[in-house]
Structures are given as C-alpha cells and as structure tokens.
C-alpha cells in the first residue's frame, strides 16, 4: 500500500514536471498609440511581465501602468493622474489562453498564428477579449506579437469634452515580447 502511494506520488510529480513548459519574460514591450487630428499620443512600456504555458495555453500579462513612457512629461502625468488613475489601479492584467496552442510546436522554428482569448483588466474594469496574434519560435524562444484596438469607454476611462478632439476614443495596443523557456 505504501509503495503504491509512493508510486503515485512519483508519477504525479513526474507528470507535473513534464507538463510544465513555461515561457516567461519580465521585459516585454507594450506600446500604445492613438492619433487624432490634434495630437498623436504614443507610449512605451518595456517592463511588462508575461508568461505562457505551452502545455495548457495559459497566458498572463502584468503591466505596471506607471512604467509607460511618453514623449511629453505632462502627458505622462495626465495619463497616470487623470486617465488610468495609476495610484488606484497600478496594474493592467490579462489572464487567458492561447486557444490553439496545440498547433504551436516549440521544438520547431516557425511562425504560428495564435488565437488569444481571456480577461483584460484596465483601470479596474475587466472585459472579455478575443484577439489574433502570432507566435514565432526561434531556437526555443518565443516571440509573441499582437496588435489590437481597445475602446477607452469600455474601461471607464473618461475623456473630458475640452480635450475630446485631442484624444482618440480608440487606442491601438501593440504587444511584442520575447519569452524565454523556464528551466
């Protein structure tokens, strides 16, 4: 009986160890961009934490809002103080899945389409999203890319009337990150 239990335990440990094929980064890049007739707004964040478990497709992002850098200091201050309220909501997160992860072979170099689905949380508001991206495998590393648009109003980010001509209601998000395999 004891041996059986031990055997189970070992099997379980082995299987869980064999199953976890996680790729992570802590220096992922997210850019956001919006253009209106009056003003172009662009910001970069190079400290995005992201993880992908290729055995399950589980995917996660943690984005520290204060790490976004803008061309204009005043814009950055407004972004944090007035729009995303970084003190109240320090992170934006994504928790979801690459639904077609089975099509991705991390042992073979190549570019694969990735269908991503999950919960995107910005400014304390969660929305279910479904976007397309790509996964490029290069020598055991994953280069994940995606470009999509979000509507600020979906995340309760208000644009006051006085500057509504300067700020576009929709923002383009570009994700680009190289994930390393976790040993």
């Amino acid at each position: 009986m004891k041996n059986l239990a031990l055997g189970f335990l070992c099997l379980l440990l082995i299987s869980s160890a064999g199953f976890t094929q996680k790729f992570i980064t802590k220096t992922g890049h997210i850019k956001f961009f919006s253009e209106s007739p009056m003003e172009k707004i662009e910001a970069h964040n190079h400290q995005v934490k992201a993880g992908l478990d290729v055995s399950t497709g589980d995917m996660q992002f943690i984005v520290l809002m204060k790490s976004f850098e803008f061309a204009k200091a005043l814009m950055q201050e407004h972004f944090n103080e007035n729009y995303v309220e970084s003190d109240k909501f320090p992170n934006a997160t994504f928790t979801g899945k690459v639904t077609n992860i089975k099509d991705v072979n991390t042992a073979k170099n190549g570019v694969y389409e990735a269908l991503v689905e999950g919960k995107l949380t910005i400014h304390g508001i969660s929305q279910q999203v479904k976007e397309k991206g790509s996964i490029e495998v290069t020598d055991g590393k994953i280069n994940a890319k995606a470009r999509f648009n979000i509507l600020l109003s979906n995340y309760n980010i208000k644009i006051p009337g006085a500057v509504s001509n300067n700020i576009s209601k929709s923002v383009e998000i570009t994700v680009e990150m190289i994930l390393d395999k976790l040993n």
Partner: protein, 300 residues
C-alpha cells in the same frame, strides 16, 4: 485502518495543492524575484508655483516652461481705474528641468525692471514602494537685481546695492489624491535697505495648500507670514493668495487674488504692502506652456 487512510489523505492533499498551485502558479512566477520599484508621488502641486510663490515642483526633466505671470492693479482703485484693470505688473519667465533634481530659471519683472534668476534643488522626493519617503524637500535659491535708475545718481552707487537674495526650504507632502500641503521657511537678504531701521535679513514663513476638486481643477491657497518688526520704512505685511488651477492639455492656467504686488520671491516677502481688509487685492493669472526640449530615449 490507519495505514490505509494515510496514503489516500496524502494523495488527496497533494491533488488539492496541485490544483491551487496551477491557478496561481503563473502569477507567482511572474511576480517572484521582481524588485519592488520606487513609486514616486507625482503632481504634489500642478505647477512650479503654488500661486505667486514657488511650489516644491521642478520643471519635468528636459522640459522648458514659459511662464507668464500677470497681476492687475488693486481692486480698491475704483471705477476710474476700472478696478485695477488699467494697470499691470508682469513677469516673463523661462525655467528648465535639467535633471530630476535640478531646475533653474530666469525672469524679467516689470516691477522696478527686476531681473531674477534661480536654482531649485529637489533633495528628497515623496515616495512609497521600495523606498518610503513621507515628504518632498526642495531647496530654492534666487537672486534679484532691479535695474531702474538710481534714486540719487549724485552719490556713489554700487551695483551690489541692486541685489537681493532669497532662500527657501520647501517641505511638501501629498496626502492622498486630493490634498497637498507645503511649508516653506524663507530667508531674504536685501543688500541695501532704505533706512537703518530696516533689517537686511528678513524672515518669512510660507505655507501653501492645494485641493483638487476635479480631474482638472484645483483650489490653492498660499500665505507668506512676514515676521513683524523687520521692515520699518514701508508698511510691509504678510502675503495671502487664493487661486484656482485649471489644466488644459499642454498648459496650466492659474487665476488668483493676492495682495502681493511683486512676482519674484524677494519682493513678495519684502514689498507686499496691500491689505486684504482694505481691498488692496490684485487679480492675477499665471499661464504656463511646456515645451519638450530633450525627449525621452524612446522617442529620439
């Protein structure tokens, strides 16, 4: 019996822990070994001035601020003078943020054709996270030189007689999201004073507060308490200012009422003679426009 339960128990415990592990696994993985970051407080005050006096804020690094300050005449001058609208006291200023801790600027004041130049050092920055600092400490130093004609050109006049200096230690704290407060002990040295009864070294205690009423509008109050008995030749008094900050994208608009006629630190402390109770109040505004001179790395 005991022997049979134990393995099952262990097994189910293991399963349970594994399932919990799987959910939080990624989050923990991403959060482990990340150094906590220093979270600096931003916008303790919205502008580099609370109202007429300096705030603890420096111009953002690599940014040039053009600051136009304007005071009308006194409200109590009556309709004949359109309640002060016919007069103006102006300061044109430029200031620049060289680093996160060093700012400097120059200004030209119409009051006695005074030029002023200043340095502003941010010594401590309020922060939380990896470094906890309860307040911001800024040291301000300025020199003012008035350039109007000598009142008595026949006697021997020295250039140094035109100069005066101000030093301030500005201690500020932002309490939550809406309220900020600063205390600024101020020392002014005037090289040449009108009479022997006037002190050359003058002390004042400044205080400023900001209360944010909406995302873009804040109410400010500022007081420079002149310690009595230092200035005898003119009825110098403390300076009280009340104002509103309105943010509009690239600029901050400040509109206020004050009894301080001057717009440089030296004259705010030593040459404020108007009294609120007598209606010696000036309507004024500051308009600032910010220009990014050195862009952050990413955008070069």
């Amino acid at each position: 019996m005991k022997k049979r339960i134990q393995p099952v128990l262990i097994f189910s415990l293991l399963l349970l822990s594994l399932s919990i592990y799987a959910q939080d696994d990624m989050t923990n993985l991403l959060n482990q070994d990340t150094k906590p970051v220093i979270d600096y407080t931003s916008a303790t005050f919205k502008a580099t001035r609370v109202i007429v006096g300096q705030s603890c804020e420096n111009p953002p690094t690599g940014n040039l601020i053009f600051l136009f300050s304007h005071h009308f005449g006194a409200l109590n001058t009556g309709y004949e003078n359109l309640f002060g609208l016919k007069q103006a006291q102006v300061r044109l200023g430029l200031e620049y943020g060289a680093t996160t801790w060093l700012g400097f600027g120059v200004g030209l004041n119409t009051l006695q054709n005074t030029w002023d130049g200043f340095l502003k050092f941010k010594v401590l920055r309020q922060s939380k996270g990896a470094r906890k600092m309860p307040f911001t400490l800024t040291i301000f130093g300025s020199t003012s030189i008035y350039t109007t004609k000598w009142s008595d050109p026949n006697r021997k006049n020295y250039f140094s007689s035109r100069m005066s200096y101000a030093t301030q230690v500005i201690l500020a704290r932002k309490f939550g999201q809406r309220f900020s407060l600063q205390i600024a002990p101020t020392y002014v040295h005037v090289n040449l004073v009108p009479t022997p009864d006037d002190h050359n070294n003058i002390f004042s205690i400044g205080a400023g507060a900001r209360f944010k009423i909406s995302q873009r509008v804040a109410i400010n109050a500022e007081y420079y308490y002149l310690i009595p008995g230092q200035i005898k030749s003119i009825p110098a008094t403390s300076a009280l200012s009340l104002g509103v900050d309105i943010e509009t994208g690239g600029h901050v608009f400040q509109i206020f009422l004050t009894n301080a006629n001057g717009e440089n630190m030296e004259s705010i402390v030593t040459q404020t003679t108007g009294k609120w109770q007598n209606g010696d109040i000036f309507l004024g505004f500051n308009i600032s426009r910010i220009f990014t001179v050195v862009k952050p790395k990413e955008f070069r």
